[in-house]
Structures are given as C-alpha cells and as structure tokens.
C-alpha cells in the first residue's frame, strides 16, 4: 500500500495554483488544493480540481496526428513536424505571411510562448498571435 500526496503546480493557466495529487498505488485518485500556498490558499477552479482525471484519461492525445483522407491518424513526430513545416512554407509562399496565425498556450512556460511569438514574427512574418484561452 503506497498512498502519497504529491505537491505540484497546475498546468492549466499562468496563475500557478498549487495542489496535491493524491496517488494510491501509482494511480491518481484525487486533487487536493494546497491551503498553505500563497497563490491559491486552498482554492481551485474547476479545471484545477479535475487535473487527476485528464492525466489518466483515455481521451488524452499522446501522439501527434495528421488527418489523412478525412481520418485522424497517429504519426511519428518526424512526419508531423515535416508535414507542418512544409505546409507553413507553402501557405506563406502562396498566400503571404498573414495567412498564418498562431495560438499560444497556457499550458507551457513563458519561455516557450516567447519562442512561439518570436517564430511567428521573425520567421513567418505575421503578428497574428493569440492565446488558446480565447478559443
């Protein structure tokens, strides 16, 4: 029997709420907001409360997918990246930089978001950068 509460930080948004993930014999069984965290003082939003569910969800995407003939198919990272790079180049060449837009994410670090907007502005040449929370 191995029951633990692991202190961690929510990945959903930039607030950085702290909670404990309850782990019983290697399986996540619950989320408990950390009361001594100065960020969230024992409170969470509905997304934070359900972190333990998405981590183990069957619906979770674990590999990149490309839609082929109308169906999503799992592919390797190499194939996904090659495909994306080629499409970005083609769209930019045929329709111009502003035909491409970028969605940043709340689930990655500041540095990763910085890199993405840099790529959008410097490499692709567009300032169409928005955030997933607006979807």
């Amino acid at each position: 029997m191995d029951y633990q509460n692991i202190l961690t930080t929510c990945t959903y948004c930039g607030c950085g709420c702290n909670f404990f993930l309850e782990v019983l014999d290697g399986e996540l069984t619950g989320t408990i907001p950390c009361k001594t965290s100065p960020v969230n003082e024992g409170k969470l939003c509905i997304k934070g409360w359900n972190v333990h569910e998405f981590v183990q969800s069957d619906k979770r995407l674990k590999r990149p997918m490309i839609r082929k003939n109308g169906n999503l198919e799992e592919v390797s990272w190499d194939e996904a990246l090659d495909y994306t790079a080629a499409r970005l180049k083609t769209v930019k060449a045929e329709k111009g930089s502003d035909a491409v837009g970028f969605f940043a994410s709340a689930k990655v670090t500041c540095e990763e978001n910085y890199l993405m907007q840099k790529f959008a502005r410097a490499a692709v040449g567009t300032n169409s950068v928005d955030h997933c929370a607006r979807l």
Partner: protein
Amino acid sequence: MIEIVRQKAGELLNQGKIKGFIAPSRENGHVAPRLFTRVEELSTLNLGDSSSEGDARYPLDKILITLHRKYPDDCFGILVRGCDQRGLYTLYRLNQLNPDRVIEVGIACSPGLAKACECLKPFPDDAVAGDPVAPEGQKAVEMVEDMDMAGRFEFWMDQFSKCVKCYGCRDICPMCFCNECSLECKDLVSKGDLPVDIPVFHLVRAMHMADRCIDCGLCEEACPSDIPLRTLYKKTGRIMDEEFGFTSGINKHEKSPLSIMGPAPDKKGP
C-alpha cells in the same frame, strides 16, 4: 498536544494495530495530508495548523474513504477533531466506513477555534489531548435569520451570483462520496454553462447536506468566491434539529430521520 498524538500514533503503528495513520504533515514548507506508515515518519506530524490553529485542516475522513475502498480489511488510525469524528460517525451510519477498521485519535479544539467555527461540538468523544470546551452559539445563522424574508432572499441570491461553478465545495467535502452526483444531473444543473443555475445548484447541495454536513467548514474555506456556505449548511442543520431533533454525527449510533420510511418520528430535540 502534538507529542501526545505522536506517541499514540507511534504506539498503534508499533503494535501493528494499524496499517497507517492519517494526519497532516509539515513538509517542504507546506502542510499536507499524509498516511504515516512508519514511526520514524511521525516527526513531521502536524495537527492542521500552519500560521494559526486549524488553518490547514484537510478532509482526512475523505482520504480514509479512499483507502478503505481499496483496502477494506485493513485498519487505519486517524487524527480527529470534533468535526472529523462527527464525519466518521456519519460515514459509519451511511456504510461508507467500517468502525471496526478505524482507530480514532482525538484532540479537542481551543476556545478560539471553537468560537471561529461556531462549533456545536469542538471536541471528539475520548479526546487524548486538549481540554474540551463548551459548544458555541450560532451567530452567523442568527444574523441571517434576523433579516426579513425579502432581505434574506436578496442576501443569498447576491451571494450565489458570485459562484464560479468550480464544484470545489463538493469536491473538498468529506461527506460527499456519491458515485452519481445530483449537481451533475443535467435536469438540475446545466453542463458547460455559466453562470451556474441559481439558486438550484446551491439549494440542491444544501438539501443533500441536511443530514450529512458535519460543519467542518472546509467547503467555505475552498470557495474561491467567499460564499458563506457554512452558514447555509448550518441553517439546514438547524432545521433538522428543530424538526427532528437530529444533528448529523453528534451521536455515534443515531440513524437519520431522513432514512426512515413512514411518518415523521417524534421530536427529541430541545
């Protein structure tokens, strides 16, 4: 007080009477609920106090449910204040825990905490530490009762309108263990929509808590919108007492009048 608890938990572990002891623990600068399985670990034991008494209490009873569901034959020790023990009594009554598999180690709360909680039973039966103090008056409930009906309605609708539908009040509650929750029934509460259905969401929860809520106050502490949920459930509890002379978890073997088929039982209350 903490030394007595540590010693008691250590004895239970040493004698092999329990598989583990559930209590808060101070680690990494935080207070977290923990299952202590070895005596050496007990040095980090904490009573749910961070900067003041009882400010870092966690739903220990709920953790016990999780463990009991997977390991029904094992016996666990658990730190209880008055409210936690009321919770255990309620969970025994509702067949969620087996009293033969639980050893309670009780501490009485200080007069200050009892007052802050407006607690009806600020001590467990058979406390091993702390001096039991008398029950406190219910000022928060009386303040709302003193309003006229229109004022009361306005007060609660204002409060409920702050709700962000996080379900935190339900998720933290040690008395919420149902597999299917009415708050997720789409005929009562819409799914994926804000604002939340007011006042249905809050009143459904209040009604379901009527014979269960043990007034631990964890829901109110978890509410990001500072809705006085505890006052609301104290009120439903008070109605149960006035109508049926029943208060959840006060007496170990008392059945809930809401689970009895037939005419209402005679009043036993004051």
